[in-house]
Structures are given as C-alpha cells and as structure tokens.
Symmetry: D2
Subunit: 403 residues, 4 copies
Amino acid sequence: MIELFSTERLKSLLPQYKDFVEKELFPIDLSVLKDDWQTAFIMLKAKREKAKKLGLWAPYLPEVEGGLGLTMAEFGQISEILGTSPLGHYVFNCQAPDIGNIELMHQFASDTLKERFLHPLMAGEMRSCFGMTEPELAGSNPVHLATTAELVGEEWVLNGHKWFTTAADGAAFCIVMAVTDPEADAYQRASMLLVPTDTPGFELVRNISIMGDEGGGYFSHAEILLKDCRIPKSYLVGAQGDGFSMAQRRLGPGRIHHCMRWIGICERAFNMMCDRAQTRELNPGKPLSGQQTIQNWIAESRAEIDAARYMVLHTAHKIDQEGSKAAKIEISTIKFFVADVLMKVLDRAVQVHGALGITDDTLLSFWYRHERGARIYDGPDEVHKSSLAKAILKERTAKQQAS
Amino acid sequence: MIELFSTERLKSLLPQYKDFVEKELFPIDLSVLKDDWQTAFIMLKAKREKAKKLGLWAPYLPEVEGGLGLTMAEFGQISEILGTSPLGHYVFNCQAPDIGNIELMHQFASDTLKERFLHPLMAGEMRSCFGMTEPELAGSNPVHLATTAELVGEEWVLNGHKWFTTAADGAAFCIVMAVTDPEADAYQRASMLLVPTDTPGFELVRNISIMGDEGGGYFSHAEILLKDCRIPKSYLVGAQGDGFSMAQRRLGPGRIHHCMRWIGICERAFNMMCDRAQTRELNPGKPLSGQQTIQNWIAESRAEIDAARYMVLHTAHKIDQEGSKAAKIEISTIKFFVADVLMKVLDRAVQVHGALGITDDTLLSFWYRHERGARIYDGPDEVHKSSLAKAILKERTAKQQAS
Amino acid sequence: MIELFSTERLKSLLPQYKDFVEKELFPIDLSVLKDDWQTAFIMLKAKREKAKKLGLWAPYLPEVEGGLGLTMAEFGQISEILGTSPLGHYVFNCQAPDIGNIELMHQFASDTLKERFLHPLMAGEMRSCFGMTEPELAGSNPVHLATTAELVGEEWVLNGHKWFTTAADGAAFCIVMAVTDPEADAYQRASMLLVPTDTPGFELVRNISIMGDEGGGYFSHAEILLKDCRIPKSYLVGAQGDGFSMAQRRLGPGRIHHCMRWIGICERAFNMMCDRAQTRELNPGKPLSGQQTIQNWIAESRAEIDAARYMVLHTAHKIDQEGSKAAKIEISTIKFFVADVLMKVLDRAVQVHGALGITDDTLLSFWYRHERGARIYDGPDEVHKSSLAKAILKERTAKQQAS
Amino acid sequence: MIELFSTERLKSLLPQYKDFVEKELFPIDLSVLKDDWQTAFIMLKAKREKAKKLGLWAPYLPEVEGGLGLTMAEFGQISEILGTSPLGHYVFNCQAPDIGNIELMHQFASDTLKERFLHPLMAGEMRSCFGMTEPELAGSNPVHLATTAELVGEEWVLNGHKWFTTAADGAAFCIVMAVTDPEADAYQRASMLLVPTDTPGFELVRNISIMGDEGGGYFSHAEILLKDCRIPKSYLVGAQGDGFSMAQRRLGPGRIHHCMRWIGICERAFNMMCDRAQTRELNPGKPLSGQQTIQNWIAESRAEIDAARYMVLHTAHKIDQEGSKAAKIEISTIKFFVADVLMKVLDRAVQVHGALGITDDTLLSFWYRHERGARIYDGPDEVHKSSLAKAILKERTAKQQAS
C-alpha cells in the first residue's frame, strides 16, 4: 500500500479483498474462463453471494446505495486487487460495462427506469450492455454514428449496426447511442436510449470471436443489429441530444477503471514471472532468476508498474478533488501509458515462461490475447497522444497570450 | 524479387507459386483455420492435388525425389510466398515438422524405414511429428532429456513425457529423442527413434490449447506420454548416441525455414496494414494513411522487412555455398532478428486495424497469437543472443592468439 | 505542484526559487557555461550573494545550520526547479559533490574538521571534491580500490590514482576513499580521509575532457595522482574501516539528488521542445506542432516526466518517513528509470530542434552530452537493475519461507 | 566481405585500404581530431601523399580522372573501411562535401570552371563547400530558400544567410544554392553558383560550435553571410533554375555515402565494445563479456550492423544497375534505418565503456556527439519515413488502378 494513498478504511478493507481474491478466485479463475457461461455462472453466483455476505459488494457505490462510499483513490487500490483475477470485478459487481451504466443511470435515468433497471443491476440480478461502437465507422471519432432513433408517436424506432457490445449476450438491456437529431451540431446529434434486449428487432448477430475466443455470457463482445426496434419514448436516458457529452462523462471514469484493473493484471503477471524465474531451472541448481536478462525484465517491470500505479492514483486523487473533467489530460495520459506498461509486462512474463507461456495452461495467454485491445478500446493510443499534446500546446498558447 | 538472388527458374516459378497462393489459398485460409480438421483436410487435399498436377509439389526436394532441386536461397524466396498464407507450406508439402523429418530420414534412415515411412511422407500420404521438448526440462538446454529408450532384446522400450509435439494428432509416426546411453558424455546420450503412433503405450494426452486454440490434426501441438512403448531395434534413425548432433543438424535448416515463412507473414500483414490505412476513413475523405504515425509504421515496417529478407537470403546463400554448419552464427542471428521484426510488424498491423485487428475476422489475430511463439520455439531469443555473442568473442580471441 | 506533496512553506518557497532561476539564471546560463571558470565565477558569486540575501541559500540544510530545514520531498521539488538551469544547484550551494560532503562531514567529521572545512563549505567560501572512482577498476564494484593510506607515525600516507573527481579543480580539499586495512573483510577495508588539495603529493593531472569539454573550476572532472601524500592522523573522517558503509550512505541521497535535478532538466527540455514545435514552421502557417510525430513525442515525454516525478517524490517521502536505508530498493529503481526518461526526453528535444539541436546555441547539446553519464555515474543501469531484481527475489524467498 | 558483393578487384583493394587505415590512421586519429587544424593538416597531408603513391587516391573517380572506376557497390565496401577512422575519407579525398561537389561539377560545370576549380579539387589541392541550409527556414523543405542571386549586368549578386556549411573554413569556393527566378514554379526557382570564398561580401561569420566542438578547417561547419557578393555570370553551375533538381541528384548519392561511412563507424565501435568487454574485469577473472546484458548488446549490434550493410549494398547495387533515381525509395529507407542502427551501436559501446565511454579518451565520444546529427542532416528521419510511406502507398494505388 502506498503510504500517501492509505486511509483507515483501506487498511481494513484491502486485506479483506486481497484475501477473498486470492483464496476464492485464484484457485478457480483459469478453469472458469474455459467453462461455458452456464457452468461459469453457477460458480460465480456463489462467489457473489459470499461477497455480499462479507459486506464487500459493489465497493464503488455510495453508502446509501449499498456500497462502501469510497473515494476514487480508495476504489483504485481495491480495483487493482480485483484486477489480479479476471473474475474479480464481476464477483464484486464492479465490472464494465455495468459499472459505467450504473453511474450513468444514477445521474440521468428517470425514476421509473431506475426502479425497473438500475436497482436490479446494482443488486447483480441483471446485466446490461452499452452499444456505441459501429463497425463501419472509426471508433476513435465518436461523433460519427450511423445508428438512428426516430421518434414516431410515443415510441423511438431504432435502426443500426453495433459491434464490440461487451457482455450483450444474456444482458437484460442495452444503452444504445443513436442519432436522434441528425440536423443538429455534430456534438448534439446523439442521444442514449435504453433498449431491453428482448425488444423485437434487437438482434444479437453473433458473439465476435476475439483473439481466439467467442466467449459467452458476461465474457463476450457482440455484434448487434437494430431493425425497427421500438421502445417507449420514456426510455430515453438523459436529455435528447446529450448523448455525446454523456458518453464522454461515462468514458472518463471508464478509462481510469481500466487502468486500475490493468495494474492488477501487471502485478499478478509480475508474480508469475518471478515464481517461474525462481523455480524453473536451466540446469540443476541454476534457476532462470540467475540470468541477467531475466533480472533486467524483473527490474524494469517493477519500475514501470510502480510508475503506472502512481500515475493512476494521483489521477484518481485529482478526480476526487476536482472532478473527472478537470482530470481529462491526466486520464488521456494514463490510458496510453498504463496500456503500454501492461503490454510490456505481459510480454516479458510470457517469454520467461517459455513454451508454457503461450499455452492456455496459465492466465498469461488469456491476458496477452485479450488485453492487446487495451491499446485500442476507449480510444487508441494515437488519439490519446494527439489529444494530450494538443491540450498541452493549447494551454501554453493561452498562458503566453495571458502574459 | 531481389536482383542478386534471382535465377532463371525462379523467374518462372515464383509467379506460379504466387498466383496459386493468392488465387487458391487467400480466399479460403481464414475460414479453413476455423474449420475442424476433418473439414479442413478435405479442402486441403484438393489443393494439394492441384499443386502436384501443376508440378509445384515439394519444391525443396531434390529432382530425383520428385522435387524441384532448388538451392536454399531459391527455396527461401518460394517459402516466403508460401508463408503469406497459413496454408501455403502444408499445401505444397513443405510444412514443419514433416520437412525436417524428411531431410533427416533422407540422410539417416535405413532403406526399410525409408520405404515404409519416408516415401509416403514425401508423397503427402502420411504425416509425421518430432518429439523432443519435454515439459519438465528447459527446452533451451537440449541435452537435458528425461525420456529414455532401453534396448531390451530386439526392442527399444521407451518411457517419457513430451509436449509441443507439433502435428502429432493424426500423424503416422513420431521421431522421438530419447536417452539411450545415460552414462555417456552429455552430447552423446541421446538417440532418435521412429515410433509409429499406433504403438501401444504411445498416448496422445491432449492437443495443448495454445493462445486460445486447441487446434486439431495438422494444426495442433500435442502432449504425449510414452509408457513402455516398444518398437523394433531397427527403428533407430541414425547411429546410437548421435541424437543430439542430428537434432542440431535438423534445427539449423528448421530455423531458416521458419524465418523465410515469417517474412511471408510480414509481407501479408504489411499489405493488410496498407490496405486498411488507405480504405479506413477517420472522416469522409480522410483515410488513416494520411496520419503521420501510420506512415511511420509503414516506413519502419518496410525497412525492417527488407532488412530481414536480406539477412535470410544471404544466410541461405551461405548455406548453399558452405553448408549449414558454417552458417551457424548467421542462423542464430536471423532467428532472433526476424522474429523481432515479425512481432513488430504484426503488432502495428493489428493497431492500424483497430477493433477489427483483435477479432478473428482477419488473419492478424491468428498470427499475433500463434507467432508469439516465434521468439520461443527452436531456442528463445535469449539463448540465440548469448550463443551469437559467445561465438563472436571466441572467434576474436582465437584471432588475437593467432596473431 | 503535486497536491499531495504540497506544503505550506513550499507554496511560498517554490515560486521564489522559480522566479530566481528563471529571471536570474535562464538569461545567462548558456553563456556562463561557455566562459572560462574565472569569468563564470565572478558572475556566479554575485548570484550566490543575491540568493543568500533572499534567504534562499542552502535549502537542504537544517535551520540551525542556516538552511531551510526542508524534508526530502520538499527539497526534491525545489531541486527540480534548480535543475532547470545548469547553474541552479551551484548558485544555491546545493551542488554535488559539496552537498554530499556536507552531509557526510556533518555526521562524521571531528569538530576541528568541521570548523576548519565544513563551515566554510556550508558558507560557500570553499569548494570540495570526493575521490572514489579509479580508472583501473570497475566503478560498479566499489569494494575494489587500489588507493592506500598507511598510518606512519602521526600521519596517513596516501598513494593512488583517482579519476572523475568532480570539481577538484579549485577545490580546497578532497575526501578520499582509500584502503587502510588491506587484510580486513572486503567491506571493512576502506576509510575516508580529508586531503587538502595543497598537500604535497596531491597532483591534479588534468581535467578530463568529457564529451567535448575539459571544463574548469566547478565544472570539471579531474584525474588525480596521490604520491606519498601526507595528512595528519586526525584527518580521518568517521571511523577507520567504515569507508564503504559511509560511501553507501553518501550515495543513496546522492542518487535521489541527481534524479530530482534530472526532472528539472526534463522540464526545461520539454518546454524548449514545445516552444520550438509551436514556432518553427515547415511552411508558412504550418508549425511543427501540427505533425503527429511531434505530438507523439510531446505526449510521451509528458507522461514519462510525470511518472518519473511521482517515483522520485514518493521515494523522497519514504526517506523522510523511514530513512534512506529503508528506501534502498526505491533509490535503485529511480536511478535507472529517471535516467532513461532523461535520455529519451533530451533526444526528442534535440530532434525537434533539427540542426539547431546539435549546435551549442541551446542548452540541449550541453545536456545531451553531459547527461549521457547519468546512466553510468553512481552505478550503471545494469548494476541497479540486477540489484533491484535480486532484492525483490530475496524478499519473495524470505516471505515464502516465513509462511 | 559479403560473397555476393565481392569482385576480383575488391579482393585485392579492400585489404590494401584496410591495412592503410588500420596502420596509418588508427594510431593517430584520436589525437589529430584534438589538434588545431594547422597541425592536423600537416599530418594529414603526409598521409594523403602516401595514399596517392599507393594508387589508392580517390577510389570513386572514373579511371580516366585518376580514380579506380569502381561501382557504387564496390565503393560502398571501401567507404565502410574508410569510415572506421574519422580521417579515412579525407585522406583518400572522398570526403563530403568535396565528393558531392566533384560529382556535381563533373556533370554540370563549364570547362573553365572545371579547369580552375574541379581539377585542383580532385587533386586534393583545394577544398570546397556547399551552401544550402539556412537558419531561418526548415532544412527539411528544400524549396524554401531566402538567399537570392540577381543577375546585374555580367555579374550575379548574391545576398543571404547560410549555416551548416560544412568545411567552409579554408575552402577555396562554395557552391551556393540561391533563388534566381523568384517568380518561377517552386521547384524551378533556385540555381547553383560557384562563389570563391575570397569574393568580397562572402563572410564566414563563425564556425558553429556543434556538440562541444567548434572545430576548424575541414572539421568545421560554418555560418556564412553573403552581402552583395558578386561573381561572374559564368560561375553559374548547370542551367539556371535547375538548382533544386541538381541538389536532389547530389543528395541521393550523398545519403548513401553517409550510410556506408556509418557502417564503418559501427564496426569500429563494435570492435571497441568487444575489446572492452573482454578486457575489463568486474572482479579478477570475471570480464564484462560474461554478463548476459553485454552479450545481448553484442548480439543485437552484430545483427543490426549486418542488416544495415545488406540494405546499403543492395541499394548501391540497384544504383549501379538502374541509376540513383530508381533507387530513391531505397535511399530514403537506408537513411533512417542505418542512422538508427548507428545511434544504437554507439550508445551501447559507450555504456560498455562506463566512465571511459563519456571521456574524450576514446573515439566513442566524438562519434556519439557528432553523429547525433545523422538523424537530422540530409533530411530528418521523420521526413524520410513519410516520403517512404507515401511512395509505397502511391505505388499501390497506381497498381490497383492499373489492374
């Protein structure tokens, strides 16, 4: 624990989460990932109930909502622990995309939608998904959307094509980004609409096979067709035309949540790398850890992970103090910085494991494959780097003009 | 085609191979990889027959054996073309591990073994595998083997545990490395033995799931148990105790074959990257290719692939002139150099494809996952770098002492 | 200023130092570096007096000694500001090697030595140097020393050969590491002795030309010969045989002082890079800053400098809380991590400046040349990486054995 | 020697050049670089005479001109040998910028100019310089020039400001790029004019201090002012308005000449690195070469230098076969590829030398400092990468449209 980010409640909470994750999830996570979703679901349900009983459920929620009312910096440290297992966030109901939808609906959904959808979601009784990315248009340009929602009488009629809709398979509803005001200014065209997945016209085309896995249930990313899909007028979430700004608001915390989780992955991969280095022998009595190249990788990984953690926690602290809009630059920075550290650490851990590292007998292959997307989803590196540089240069110009 | 490595027959052959691969294999390769092996096999069989009819079968074999009698430098250029499709080498019967076994048996197998096993292998009527790597011992130290073969009467009795036995599933036989002379000097302990896979005690435990794929048939890597597995005394390949030196002789060309194939992969990934850059638009009329970062990646990839090709072809040329032993240093060099180029080019191609790049809707994911092993199999980078450095330093010392 | 590392006095002090450095030193630093030392000295003396008058002198010293009594984390933030000019540390009497000698003598020198040497040093009335590194022996192995000091009657007689004795030219005395107990255990062989530079036998052979500069006075690194150099018995600093442990104690803070200074260099180089990007035009109206490659460099530099700063300040905070011995691992980590960031940022800043970047018309060339040593002095990267890895692995083993 | 690039005359010539460089130049090059130009000049003159006597003078010149009539691929291999000493090219009269001016004047100068200037230049009796780069305008955009030459009566009147005019100090004349036709199309505005350096108005402002060295004589880079500088109308070189296309023609070979020379630097630095690794001991009997990190650097450097050489020689071969215009893409490729290899090899060599590596006691510091410009002069990396990518993409589009 980093002394400056430690708090009284964290001192008590962190060991509980760590203990749970290491004792309840580490022994099963590799096999659960290989199970079909039905089998996995039963196992995970039991763990979720245990988490609830221990009072560890949904730590990011306010206390009045049944959560722990943590600051972002506190949650960041717990999220890292959860991230050490691919099951961690799900078991404590902190998983994307639900966590983002919960934050969003909390702020913007009508009371009716809250009661019908948000409360069961918070209780872990249903799952949700978020339909934004479209296959034909560059995801890095979020104002380009082809999906439309037209108000016809008392209903919105949606048409469009989405993909990379995470966890749509089995979700109860989808928050869909769609153009409602095609004539408006680029940033005011889109709105968010809640579409129950059993609505006629909502078609899950396939779970997209990603880096070798189609997955299923929560562990999946769907392609979705919306064909004359009709929902009540009241299923609009937030104000009409506010879709883009709400998406931005949703993505900021989403990005830092990813970064926190990635640090957890890094730490587990780092531990696996060290274990392997200490136990695998090149010759009897000559473990890999005696090789200077391996030592370099251990040292570089340690330094980079520590750097990443500091970056993320200071960003979280800034969000706590000044809000996520004020931390926009920092969020762009950690998005590409931490993703890069993650890639390097995973790559070294794989290499230290040799042939074993490329098998599915360890978690490394799962992460190596599925976290390659870290440099792409929620904005590719290239976009975040340009944004950061432009923001820096703009601020400089403003200062110079002011002085 | 590189002018200095061009020959008359290449000028005629290369376009034929290129045409075949692009017209016959490109349209099907992505889907064949997703088929189960039974389905894939039927499709591939038809393509193999076509290849035979066109006189393009097994180009690396001597003319008397039905091949084209190419030099290594010529074959390297054809192998690159074959490598542009994951099906290329198999369709022309140039695939590892069969190509290595064919070379090996050619030199060392008895006439009986040749007739019974080598000829059908060359004709593509059976497949083979090579059992060397063991899970408990570092593959980078080839003199460490726990598998034993004891001569009991007229039979060898084998016991041991192998893994990463490529293409064992469905193979007719396996060339197994086993310790036959435990008391001998480290480099004279092992021998090679031909074990038909239907021998009692030869147990294929599983096809190891690698980077998300168990695969099947030719596209698989097995874990094998040998339990009191008995084969005739005459199934020894080469002289007793020569296993290590034969393995070295087998691995040298094996490594350059990999490098040639990797360059083919690089070229196809490079083409996909350019295609994507030219067709994907960030905004209407603004393709990705206008972004300087993308341009950097295209330029760097072009330079690195060209460098890799020159390195490989000059090494091939040296093997042609002086034999593969004389080119040992060059082979170590290209092994880690080309693998590194491959990783970089694939990584950039994935990034340029964005979300599509991590799906299994293109070949990039297949290569990104399955060629991560390139830095590990046939000796990890670390081992080749140390070997190369030690060889350089040793040669310097020898020169200094001589002068 | 980083919110979590801000304190009341820093809020008042930092702007004063920043103002002084930017207004008093930025306009002259490039030209002072080109002056001979005599000329430079006069200019610097005036600045030092101004610093004293403003009450900003020697901020790292305890208040009773006339300093500001800052914590390491506070000083770190001031040191960064000082580091933005190559003159900063000298002007405020915080420059290596004097700062290290002051800390050392404070703890270990006799009252007589303190009065005669330490007090004028603290007052900026004399300069000192530290003689440890020897040309014939690897500096990365500090227990290997060929310099000896033999007690003959009431005098120590020193013989040996030193180099990279920073700022020896014009220094009043040198703290010399010498073997006093050749038969003792490796870590108890050496002692520290104070040798006035006017002692017969203390010969400054040359100011070593480093990366194009011989330098002079404070800005120099000497080669020193000690030939039967006799000093009083009482000029031993600390206990006999404690030289190695005192050196370690001296080097710990020395390393973090370097890191803090490097971050200052990074920030100034970063600013120069941004200025250049915004003002240099490729075509009329098309500044360099519009190029995506330049934007990437700005973004990556920003992220890396921030990461480096967090690493350093958290290490400083740990030193404040638990002492520098407890922070040994963190100090090794920042030593190679920050040096690497420094190299990258300087290299990018040079490249953005084009031809101007390689001239001596800006500070970039000075830093590019003289800070290449950052990866070497006070322990090369390789040594720190190995140390860090070994410490991590040892701690793991200890934990595993404990549990 | 690379077998495929070997020729009969090379087999005889290469050892002669190697012998000369290693025996005549290696022992003096470090000290000559530190001498003032007057002293250096005398030493170098003697070596030049020796080179002439041995029939090794100006190997790149046609036989009729007193050279050896080598192909570019042959000269490349000799140029590499010359490049192993910073004196090599000068001693054999192959040094930039004279070699470029000789090629240029050969093709374009009038007979009078040839007799008066070219012949003494070829004989090594005078030196020349080339004035293109201007401080106020981005060198990477060669059509932007502020220097003008106006035809007034029978004279050209030049006005302008140049810098990085290599070797102007002591040169007899300068080929100046100046705008002669300001109203013409961008690429037809400039012409080349021969300006004797003793022309009134030709003012050498200073030798620019570059990375710590002002240099002098041949080893210098000047800032030049042209103030109403008048030369005869007949001193135009080539046709009026052809300056840009002639510059391009001059720069192509200029770039490959640099690359060849860089490979020579790499080889010498590589040898120094290996020497140091084998002789420097960390502990008695434990040379640096036993460290795996050092071995990695040796192996990676070997691979990269070999790759660079293949790239350069194949490019040279293409120029020999098809002319330098046909090899434009290859020249851009090697420019950034080889410069990058050079930086990496020099950096590793410095690091292996430790403190010694940053002193001026070896050549490494000279190259580390002065070759940082390799990524900048004759077009920065960024420009060559973009050019290469655009050329590749353009060619693809052309092919696609054709098919």
